[in-house]
């Protein structure tokens, strides 16, 4: 199914937490400085209800997204007050993909863990947690995965400051 059909199906089954969709568009000539948007369409889902939403995506007969391909986060800009969570789903049966975006407040980024729905997100959530400082409530193993256990700061945030030294070794 193409994105429009998937979005219609999600609305038809009243998927929990579905806020809307964002589609690529050409620049609007009436609006100055509108650059339009290229790339993929995605649905916007409330972060706190992502778990129920993913259950619907996985179990619904017409959607059947058996695999969670990627769960990552983005810090769009230093002065932006929100973080994005980007989820990519894949259906092997119907050969379609879905991109999902959730918004989290940068000041207190916390959301329920999606591990009960897809085991694949276990390691992805660990990486998001250490790189962006997001808390996944209920994660079975919230340790750092790529960074050392005593790393300070969230490296992939735009306001991250590189440490001057680590365990007495200079990082300049």
């Amino acid at each position: 199914m193409d994105f429009q059909a998937i979005h219609d199906r999600l609305r038809a089954v009243a998927a929990p937490g579905l806020v809307g969709a964002d589609l690529p568009r050409k620049p609007d000539p009436k609006v100055k400085k509108d650059k339009g948007r290229a790339g993929d369409p995605f649905v916007i889902v409330e972060a706190q209800r992502l778990v129920e939403f993913l259950e619907v995506c996985r179990d619904d007969d017409r959607l059947k997204f058996e695999q969670l391909v990627d769960l990552s986060a983005t810090d769009p800009a230093k002065d932006d007050a929100q973080l994005w969570i980007n989820v990519q789903l894949l259906s092997l049966k119907f050969r379609h993909r879905l991109s999902i975006k959730c918004l989290l407040p940068k000041a207190a980024p916390s959301m329920p863990s999606t591990v009960p729905v897809y085991r694949a997100s276990q390691w992805h959530e660990r990486e998001c947690a250490e790189m962006f400082g997001i808390t996944f409530v209920g994660h079975p193993d919230p340790r750092n995965i790529l960074l050392p256990d005593d790393w300070v700061g969230s490296p992939l945030r735009k306001d991250y400051e590189f440490p001057k030294e680590y365990h007495g070794i200079s990082c300049e």
Binding site: K35, R37, A38, D40, V69, D70, L156
Partner: protein, 399 residues
Amino acid sequence: MTRETQSTPAASTRVQRLGAGELSVDIRTPDLEVNFGPQHPATHGVMRILMRADGELVTGAQPHLGYLHRCAEKIGENVEWLQYLPYTDRYDYLASMNNNLGYSLAVEALLGVEIPRRATLIRIICAELNRIGSHLVAFGTYGLDIGAFTPFLYTFREREWMMALFEKICGARLTYSYIRIGGLFNDAPPGWFEEVSRFCDVFEQKWQEYVDLLLVNQIYVKRTANIGIISREMALDFGLTGPMVRGSGIDWDLRRDMPYMCYDEIWRSGAFKIPIARGEMGALGDCWDRSWVRVMEMIESIKIVRWCLDNMVEGPVIADIPKTLKVPVGEAYVGIENPRGELGHYVVSDGGKVSIRTRVRGPSFCNLAVLEDILPGSLVGDAIAIIGSTDIVVGETDR
């Protein structure tokens, strides 16, 4: 030992006097924690697995990553779009062409630029040759891990030829930076296609040697069949892709099911098949099935390369891309079939010269997560075979 000389027994021992001068002592030994890595020839890179073993039986395994973390995603936010390309080479350094391809396709999805046909065909040739090279390493070093020292150099003999071909086309043997945004770095030199065709002819005979020497070898089968079984449900739940999922009997390959470039044309012409494991030597989803898939895929890649050589066209090899590239506002995710699975690039642009997010979905990272579940219950020797069968490259696991 008499009772008088016996020191106070520890709480976990039970001492029983059987008769005159005879004692029976029960000792409970705790599980042994062994560090498998980070420095170990069989981990295929710097990776540490904290293994807990009760004698020879593995009771727990916890992978520890990050030893090869080189901040690729952070660097993506600090260098320009075209400058990021050499970094893509280095995550899965055994399949650099495919990494370049994944990144280029993701950025081209945002640019909306049309790639010349000749560039697409040469891209496919390079990607498939690199797939062969990567599977040669996977197969050869897997045999080496298990103890088969001979086939390793046989596979590397063909790999040398493949690397010589790539050296002729772009100057590098391992990290090519050849497939660029908009097309290719340069055109193939004269005589290159003829040599690729000769390579295909010779490879088919040599491939038979690998099968005869190792794949159906009784010792290899005994060491890899019926261990590390990944069920279909586990494969889907863990987001496994590539030979890991085809080795569990799931019929899925991005080149056929979500085609990119002109793979849909090649598929419709019937040029290649997708090898799906059938559990020939043991349970479906065991280590032998996964290595069988990789060996079979090498021959299918040769068929794809032959199709591209037969249908080659003349023309430019790069679209018109400015030196300082500004990518339109937007975000795109493109997943391609890497030798290890689905390599995904998620790029976000705000219209500038530098990306605001370059997320790399490395298949080795996702495939490795399954180890925590399949290693416990196996013997230590089998654990080596299972880790080798996941065919990970730590550069891609850590990025």
